[in-house]
Symmetry: C2
Subunit: 294 residues, 2 copies
C-alpha cells in the first residue's frame, strides 16, 4: 500500500476533471475561470476525494465514478476555503502556499468563484455520468446538501465565528468541528456507500470510520496550527491561539490531544474489521491523519 | 383572474415554507437563522415561485409540489441577492425596503446565510417531498445547478461586474441578462415542465414563454432603475447610470425599450396559444412585467 502514490493518482484525477469542467465553459467569463482554476487546480491534500475513492474500493465501484463524486465533494471544500479566506471571515492571504483567491483576483471574483464551485458540485452529482440510477444521484445530492448547508459545514463555520466571543468547552468544540469539517468528510465516505446502494443498517461501520477519521484530522490540524511551521502547512498557523479560540489542543493539552487522535484512528480502523486488503487504503488514510504532523 | 390574490397566496406559501425549513434547524445557530429569516421572509415579488405555480397549472401538478420547487428557486434568488448586495459586489444598503443582510448582521453572516440558502435549494429539490420520481428530482437539481452556476446566474453576475470597465452593445447586454436573471426565471418555468415529464420536443413553447418574460422583466427593471422612485422600488435606483453601465434603456432609449418589452410580452403570450384558461395566470404574469413600472 503506497499511500503517497494513491494520493497522487487521485490528485491528478481531480485536477484533470476540474480542468475539463472549467475549460468547456469559460467563454466570456475568463477572469471568473482564472480565479476558479487558481483555487481548484494543483493544490491541497485532496483528502475528501481520496476517501471517496478508498471507500469505493470496498464495494468495487468504478474508480471513474468514485473520482467524479469525490471531486464534487472537493468542489464544496474549495468553495468553502475561498469564502472562509475572505477579509470578512478569516481574512487569510495565503492558502496552499499561494495567494488566496481574493488576494489574487479581488473579493467580488472570490465570492462568485466560490458560488460557482458550490453549484458545480450539485451539477456533477446530478449528472448521469456520476451514476446511471437517478435514485442514487438524488440521494447523493440530498446528503451533500445537508452536509454542506446550515446543518453541516456552513452552520459550523457560523458557530466558529461566534466562538471568538465565547469560550467553548470540549463537547461544544467537538460539535462545532463535527459540523464545520466532519460532516463533509463523512459525506466523502457516505458517497461510496450510497453508490453501493447499501441498506441503512449496513452503513453504520462506514459512518463510524468517517466520524473517527474526521475528528482525528481536526485534532491533527489543531496540533499543526499549535506547533507546526507555516511553510509546511502552506497557510498561516497559530491563528486560533491569536484569536483566543479554544481548540482541542488548548482544552486537552498537546499530549492528551495526540493520544486522543491516536485512539480515534484505532477505532476508525476497527470499524473496517470485516474487510480484507480492499480496505488497506482506508486504513492508511486513517493512520496518515495522526502521522502527518510529526 | 386576480393576479394580486394569486401572487399573495404564493408569497404566503413561500413564507410558510421558509419559516418551517428554518425553524427546525436553528439550534445553536441563532444569528445565522435570524439573518436567513431577515433575507427570506416577508419580502419580494416572489416572481419565480409564482411562475412555477402558474406553469404547473398547465399540467395539473399538485400545487404543494409546485410551491416547493418554486421556493427552491426563490432560495437561489435570495442567496444571490444577499451576495450581490455585499460591499465588494454592488454595495447596497437597502433591499426590499429593509437594511441588507450585511448591514443588519455583518458581512460574515451575510456570506454564510447566502451559502446556506444555496445548499437549501438543492436539499429541497432532492427531497422526495418535492417529487416521488427520483429521475424528476435529479433533473430538477441538474437544471437548477446549470441555471445558477457559471453558465447561468453567477456567470452573468461576473460579466456584469466586468461591464463597469467596458461598454457593452445590445447583443452583449442581452446575453449578460439572459445569464444573470434570465436563466433562473427560465428554470422557474422549466421546473413545472420537468415535473410534468414533458418530452424534450414538447418543451419549446414554455421555454419561449420564459425567455420572453425574463427579458421583458429585465427591460422593465431597467426602466424602473432609469426613472422610478426609490420608495416604490424598495432599493437604490439609478445605480447603473451612476456606474456608467449600459442598460436596455441607455442603448435603446426609453420609448423603444418600452415598445420592445411590450413586443416580448405579446410573443410570450403567443407561445401559450394551445392552452385555455389554465394558462391565464401565466398570461397575467407576462402582462404585469410591463405594466408594473407605470
Amino acid at each position: 500500500m503506497d499511500l503517497l502514490a494513491e494520493a497522487r493518482a487521485v490528485s491528478d484525477g481531480v485536477d484533470r476533471l476540474f480542468e475539463r469542467l472549467l475549460a468547456s465553459r469559460c467563454d466570456g467569463r475568463d477572469r471568473l475561470c482564472e480565479a476558479m482554476r487558481h483555487a481548484a487546480i494543483g493544490g491541497g491534500k485532496r483528502l475528501r476525494p481520496l476517501l471517496t475513492v478508498a471507500a469505493s474500493r470496498l464495494f468495487a465501484i468504478y474508480e471513474e465514478r468514485a473520482l467524479r463524486a469525490g471531486t464534487a465533494v472537493e468542489a464544496i471544500h474549495v468553495y468553502s476555503l475561498i469564502h472562509d479566506d475572505l477579509p470578512c471571515m478569516d481574512d487569510d492571504d495565503l492558502r496552499r502556499g499561494k495567494p488566496t483567491v481574493h488576494k489574487a483576483f479581488g473579493e467580488a471574483a472570490a465570492v462568485l468563484a466560490g458560488d460557482c464551485f458550490h453549484a458545480l458540485a450539485f451539477e456533477m452529482l446530478a449528472d448521469s455520468e456520476t451514476h446511471e440510477d437517478p435514485f442514487v444521484r438524488s440521494e447523493l445530492v440530498l446528503e451533500l446538501a445537508k452536509a454542506s448547508g446550515m446543518d453541516g459545514m456552513a452552520g459550523g463555520q457560523m458557530m466558529d465565528l461566534a466562538a471568538e466571543e465565547e469560550q467553548l468547552d470540549l463537547p461544544a468544540i467537538t460539535r462545532l468541528q463535527q459540523l464545520k469539517t466532519g460532516a463533509l468528510i463523512e459525506f466523502a465516505v457516505e458517497a461510496a456507500v450510497i453508490m453501493a446502494k447499501l441498506p441503512p443498517e449496513g452503513r453504520t461501520p462506514y459512518r463510524g470510520y468517517a466520524r473517527n477519521v474526521g475528528l482525528a484530522f481536526q485534532i491533527a490540524d489543531d496540533l499543526i496550527d499549535h506547533g507546526g511551521d507555516e511553510a509546511a502547512a502552506g497557510k498561516r498557523v497559530g491563528k486560533d491561539a491569536a484569536a483566543g479560540k479554544a481548540t482541542f489542543v488548548s482544552l486537552l493539552g498537546e499530549e492528551r490531544a495526540r493520544a486522543q487522535a491516536g485512539l480515534l484512528v484505532e477505532q476508525a480502523v476497527e470499524h473496517l474489521h470485516d474487510h480484507g486488503e480492499e480496505a488497506d487504503l482506508l486504513r492508511a488514510i486513517a493512520r496518515y491523519a495522526v502521522e502527518r504532523d510529526r
